[in-house]
Symmetry: C2
Subunit: 330 residues, 2 copies
Amino acid sequence: MLNLLRSLLVLAAVIVPVAAAQAADPLPSWTDGPTKQAIETFVQKVTDQQGADYVPPAERIAVFDNDGNLWAEQPVYFQLLFAIDRVKALAPEHPEWKDKQPFKAALEGDMEALAASGKKGLLELLMVSHVGNTPEEFQESVTDWLATAKHPRFKRQYTDLVYQPMLELLAYLRENGFTTYIVSGGGIEFVRAWSQPVYGIPPSQVVGSSIKTEYKLVDGKPTLMRLPELNFIDDKEGKPVGINQHIGQRPLAAFGNSDGDLQMLEWTTAGDGPRFGLIVHHTDADREYAYDRDSHVGRLDKALDMAADKGWVVVDMKNDWNQVFPPEKQ
Amino acid sequence: MLNLLRSLLVLAAVIVPVAAAQAADPLPSWTDGPTKQAIETFVQKVTDQQGADYVPPAERIAVFDNDGNLWAEQPVYFQLLFAIDRVKALAPEHPEWKDKQPFKAALEGDMEALAASGKKGLLELLMVSHVGNTPEEFQESVTDWLATAKHPRFKRQYTDLVYQPMLELLAYLRENGFTTYIVSGGGIEFVRAWSQPVYGIPPSQVVGSSIKTEYKLVDGKPTLMRLPELNFIDDKEGKPVGINQHIGQRPLAAFGNSDGDLQMLEWTTAGDGPRFGLIVHHTDADREYAYDRDSHVGRLDKALDMAADKGWVVVDMKNDWNQVFPPEKQ
């Protein structure tokens, strides 16, 4: 009994500070107002066991787009910048790239010529820079790059350009029994390389675009090899398909920022009972970027028009967030 | 402080019985001997924080084949019996099936003619019986069938023909911080329809074969529609590929029973550090079935030959299990 009492006192020491912390504002980077209120009201509603809108934890699935929703996506998707740097690193083994598009443009940092190569050119660049290795090797190349590469405007590591209010939102939902998933148009293995340390989201909770992978014995060693062939594009109509394939349940809440997230928002919020849809609207040119209908990256046009009718909450980044990125480490 | 003490006493009331229960044998349907010992030794090793082989919970991934490993698979895969019953139910809308194989064979219950239609015939049967509906509608048709269909020999519901020792193993692993996944050659949506109530495994932790799904608006309603087109075959070389795609980590332990699980076992146990592979060998014709190298369902040949060399534990169902199925409800 003495041992038990001792254990209980240790437990008490743990429980009391936790209770105190929970009383604090879980979303301090969100300004007080209707947006923050809408999030909190929804969470209270579905977690209130006495309420009519109670949802058991097993059904509290929240899906988050990544680019422009959890981290920045300007001037172009960070994964494309990774691909360009990879092509530069691999160039000594490929002298022919100096005269061949889209590689020439990538090597010269000529973004206009790169854009002119179109989807086909970009895909070729992504393929060359992403395949012919195992998932482990590929992820290592991603983490190596992230450790040193810096954003051209902010001069910070890309994993520092995550949105502090969204990190708080992920934690707040998880504290309230939600399971948080990433549903990205970007590559599934690219995001998996850093989703756990940066977002607290394990590899199994990342859904994304993918290439085909082949299992074979290489010198007798069981090996998965990444092939230059598309498997699945997790964007637009692909997002509900990817969610169904991977999670097997319609989410309770969806968070996105572009027309690429329209179908995910639409499918999520068309479910029975309480549902929640949210769009991050990039309105802050000073602290981040301001873009929507005409952007070549993260275009937000149709989904913005539909938001009011569908009851989706639109975040005005400039006014709803009192902080955009986490503070710089001293 | 009084309230806190009261909470602690409530906690104590919860903790003490749990501690007592954990002292009991977590695998009562496994006979004492080297097989059971091997399982327990592995689990103790990877959960011992002071030991050299400690593995953190996030990496404790255990993958389980389904047919012949978690539930029975004789005289044929239960999903095929479902498909035959579905074809019978749909037959009034398809008078042409009476004279067309493989439907004629299915309607007449002529298993020999059905087998003679080959893989192509079986696939046609599966497609027709599984598509043209939403995932929710399809899963409802599965649960409706499971509620009434009976196994031809045991005269019990198919979900009663799960292996009691494997249910205990799933629970034992989860109690020890493992996440348990199904990795089935069967259809992912077929298994998801009942994996939570029967195995305690949620839809997101089921990996399986799949058909393509399309997202579209039907009368303005967001709808996922199951198409008559194969998407992925989660068998043999497909199992490591499916695991990598879905879970994104190499498992720590793999459990299977046929050559369809060979590559999953091989890839799992080739990982660094402690790994565990187990094969269920069907050796009990009295209580279940006895089959291996020559079986048309669940053939176990090459993997059985490899087991000793690879260090995979082979379960002798007849001697290692003192109970096969859960007791019949009174």
